[in-house]
Symmetry: C2
Subunit: 141 residues, 2 copies
DNA sequence: CGTCCAATCTTGGTCGAACCAAGAGTATAT
DNA sequence: ATATACTCTTGGTTCGACCAAGATTGGACG
């Protein structure tokens, strides 16, 4: 691609969108090659950190819509990485729990995705990566 | 939304995607309210900075696909902000030129979008905004 | 108890951005 | 002259994000 107009290059929103598109594409390809989906990692991480939970609550943690959650859980159950069973304490809910295979899967995906971060942030030093992470965290706060 | 899992919060790609989603939503709403599209600004800016040009070349500048370019130009022509005429020097091409109204429109959109940047980066100081812009520019380089 | 409202899951959509492919017309090289 | 390359147009597909309605269950309150 040729150089973009200066007015555009100076807009943070444009830079963020471009960076997001590039990162998203890389992550998507990587996860597809691993037989998964970016959302899988988020869900497994939430279960690992917060314990068994209902579908909506996992969704709220990760910013995933209920209906998309449903699809993703179908896949994760299919792969044996999570178990989904009616919550005996509240039978409206499904209690989603991490299986042993799911915990291993989480670690695998974590190392894979951490590696991808390095590719994305290739041009930055370790300190700069921390700075970027900090700034992004703050604008999301 | 509840707090996201730490493993997720630490991934720059996740932060970038979230920030992009938020920014993109804001921009989209703002441009829709102004009767436009985010791409309109990019196209007008490219014409202003690089002069009349063919559709593919504008697209390469701004990272817009040919077919999307076609749609966007239909809208901009309709609004009277650009003119599209066959290039006499190469009749495969359409020469797209900025009209006087288009130049005014560009300035309007620029001030509007600059204001939106402030909303997006509300939590950051001016120096930090420059830092963020610089880091993002480098990872895109 | 019965009634009404709220929460959850499931299902089946919509919408927009990004991308891809084929065809028609035009230019260029050999 | 012919083959190749370029441009625009048209008509798609894919995917993430989002929305809505129905069925089931829980809880509140008369």
């Amino acid at each position: 691609m040729n150089e973009a107009p200066a007015r555009l290059r100076r807009k943070p929103s444009w830079l963020i969108n471009r960076a997001s598109a590039r990162a998203h594409r890389l992550i998507k390809e990587t996860m597809a090659a691993a037989g998964g989906h970016a959302y899988h990692f988020a869900i497994l991480a939430a279960l690992d950190e917060f314990g068994p939970n209902s579908q909506v609550q996992i969704g709220q943690r990760c910013g995933i819509d209920q209906s998309d959650m449903h699809t993703m859980l179908n896949e994760l159950v299919e792969q044996g990485h999570v178990a989904r069973a009616p919550d005996p304490a509240d039978r409206r809910r499904n209690l989603v729990t991490l299986t042993a295979a799911g915990r291993r899967r989480l670690e695998d995906l974590d190392t894979t995705l951490t590696r991808v971060q390095h590719d994305i942030l290739d041009a930055l030093s370790a300190t700069e990566r921390d700075t970027l992470t900090g700034l992004l965290t703050r604008i999301l706060g």
